[in-house]
């Protein structure tokens, strides 16, 4: 009687080191330009080539501009990072979706979208939000650059086996409450270190009812409570999402794979090291007010009193006054995008709330699709036309203002309602103030100019 996690992990152990880590085989390895160059350099210094080139896929995403992608990148340091990824991919025979390629995008958006992310896989990337891929029922987690080098050299990493935690969310989510609200609620309840050392499986009716995109949002944020990764057991929703995707098996091979994937589900009676349960009815529309993703409240609530000196400093940075409602706070910027909320469903939701309204003149809005394919779908569905009519401009895909490595920086002191994953000090630019929220809440902020419950407009 094994858990989903144990079934996948145990099937990938090549060797075990006594009083040490497991040697874990990696099915799929994703690379972006920030955390891989030193790994490729290390490989060269050791005189090694990539061991299994067919298992690594590369896409530049962090440094790329979100406009004029047909032109050379203006920042020479960013350009060099992006060029280095291309050179490393070419030298080692790796698939590379470079800037301008029809499949380019945020690596965590394109993996599932292209059917490269499959149930039962072990998946790693030098990026903490690799947990996103767990949504299909894979063991997916972020690694450091030394570990990237291990995967390139041997298709394995050495990794201590994490403990397991199941988070069950019972009942149905209330209308207007999204996967992002659910994630922000769980993180606020458990704290930013509440799941450190654990691999989380999300379960329960509220999770089962989520679309694959929603499950990706939820799994994506697992790292924000310290979890090694997050996952959802494969079910009919998973199978239908994968069916027909570019790199997925076809025909009878797909049906056989689907049977195998469904059998991965956690067995009844399987034991987790920790179990946590929540009631979906308790969860409202959420926003953050502080400088870590655990500092979150209902959009209708007031800014909590600081519990200590460090809380007080956070509120000072955020320019929030304890006891005042967060709704009504003036918003300068809105960012829709990132590996958390840059998928087609997120753009549909944003457009739905915006419909019949216009961008508030004081709000600068950056709408950044997670991938070229998402961008194409936005155009195909006519969402771009609706958004442009409402005074918005669609940018080109990339990580963008989630971590502001390109020019998309929120100016110091300005407040941004962001669908991304981190509200750390300076994350969106030095001195920037970030309020994390769902696409619907971001849309409500964009049209009203203040933090607003999207259900009330």
């Amino acid at each position: 009687m094994k858990t989903l996690f144990d079934k996948i992990w145990d099937a990938h152990v090549v060797t075990h080191i006594d009083d040490g880590p497991d040697q874990l085989y990696i099915d799929r390895h994703y690379c972006h330009e920030v955390t891989s160059p030193q790994a490729f350099a290390g490989l060269r210094e050791r005189g090694l080539k990539v061991f299994r080139p067919g298992r690594t896929y590369c896409s530049p995403d962090h440094n790329i501009p979100t406009h004029d992608q047909d032109k050379p990148i203006a920042d020479p340091v960013s350009r060099k990072a992006v060029d280095t990824l291309r050179e490393n991919a070419e030298a080692n025979g790796l698939t590379h979706y470079g800037l301008g390629h029809p499949l380019n995008g945020i690596i965590h958006v394109i993996g599932p979208e292209q059917g490269l992310t499959l149930p039962g896989y072990t998946i790693v990337c030098g990026d903490s939000h690799t947990s996103t891929h767990g949504a299909v029922g894979a063991v997916a987690f972020g690694i450091g650059t030394s570990e990237v080098e291990m995967v390139l050299a041997s298709q394995c990493i050495l990794q201590p086996k994490p403990r397991t935690m199941r988070i069950t969310v019972n009942g149905k989510l209330r209308p207007g409450v999204s996967a992002k609200d659910l994630a922000l609620y769980i993180i606020a309840r458990l704290g930013t270190d509440g799941a450190t050392g654990y691999f989380v499986e999300y379960a329960g009716e509220a999770v089962r009812s989520l679309s694959m995109e929603g499950r990706m949002t939820l799994c994506n944020m697992s790292i924000e409570m310290g979890a090694r990764g997050g996952m959802v057991g494969p079910d009919a929703t998973t199978i239908e999402y994968i069916r027909g995707r570019a790199n997925a098996p076809e025909g009878e091979a797909f049906e056989e794979a689907a049977r195998r994937w469904l059998a991965l589900a956690t067995a009844d009676g399987a034991r987790f090291d920790r179990e946590v349960e929540f009631d979906a009815a308790d969860i409202g529309v959420r926003v953050t007010y502080g400088t870590n993703p655990g500092m979150g409240i209902d959009v209708g609530a007031t800014i909590p009193e600081p519990k200590n000196e460090s809380d007080a400093k956070v509120l000072e940075y955020m320019q929030f006054t304890p006891g005042t409602p967060i709704a009504g706070t003036k918003v300068d910027y809105v960012f829709l995008g990132s590996c958390t909320n840059g998928r087609i469903e997120d753009f549909r939701e944003f457009a739905r709330v915006v419909k019949g309204r216009r961008r508030h003149p004081d709000v600068t809005a950056w709408l950044v699709p997670g991938s070229r394919a998402v961008m194409q779908q936005i155009v195909d569905e006519g969402i771009d036309v609706e958004l442009v009519r409402a005074g918005f401009e669609l940018r080109q895909p990339g990580c963008s203002a989630c971590l502001a490595m390109n020019d998309d920086k929120i100016p110091a002191g300005k407040l941004c309602v962001s669908t991304s994953n981190r509200n750390f000090e300076g994350r969106q630019g030095p001195g920037a103030r970030t309020v994390l929220a769902s696409p619907a809440t971001a849309a409500a902020a964009a049209v009203t100019g203040v933090i607003t419950n999207h259900l009330t407009i």
């Binding site: 099937a11 040697q23 085989y25 090694l48 061991f51 450091g144 650059t145 394995c156 870590n292 502001a404």
Partner: protein
Amino acid sequence: MARPKFGTIISRCVPLPIENIDTDQIIPARFLKSTTREGFGQNLFRDWRYDADGNLRPDFALNDPRYGGCILVAGKNFGCGSSREHAAWAIADYGFRVVISTFFADIHRNNELNSFVLPVVVSEVFLAELFDSIDADPAVEVRVDLPSQTVTNLTTGRSEKFEINSYKKQCLMEGLDDIEYLMAHREDIEQYENGNKL
């Protein structure tokens, strides 16, 4: 990257009594563009060390001449957030060899070990007392002995055993990294691939 062999370290400390120090604070994203491992130390805690005009903030511990040494002491949940190993490289490049906290984020902890920086997990009592000791006398020294896995506050004499698996301990003591292990197991990997069912 330099691979110092670990034995016993006796050093003064730099105190950062702040919880949940994320890797965006340790090294902000805008300094991650370099394609080499060197030079990240100059931007360690960049936005806490320098103001917007690039002037040193005198009240930050790294800029306070009373503190020094190769041991960084930080509040719980050190290194949460991004997986960027640049954070561990910045810590190592600045000259730290040990980080003491009550709790480390998983990915960052692995990154420190792989960058030959030793993360030492101590009890809340040990950490609180150490911060008090440093507060009373910034010259207080701490001894970190990897072979016996003990950490000692040399002012109060409080000593604790810390956890590290025997594999990683051996790597740090002998300056070995994981790739050497993996390369020696290529045959096991190929054998595994031949029998892989998933």
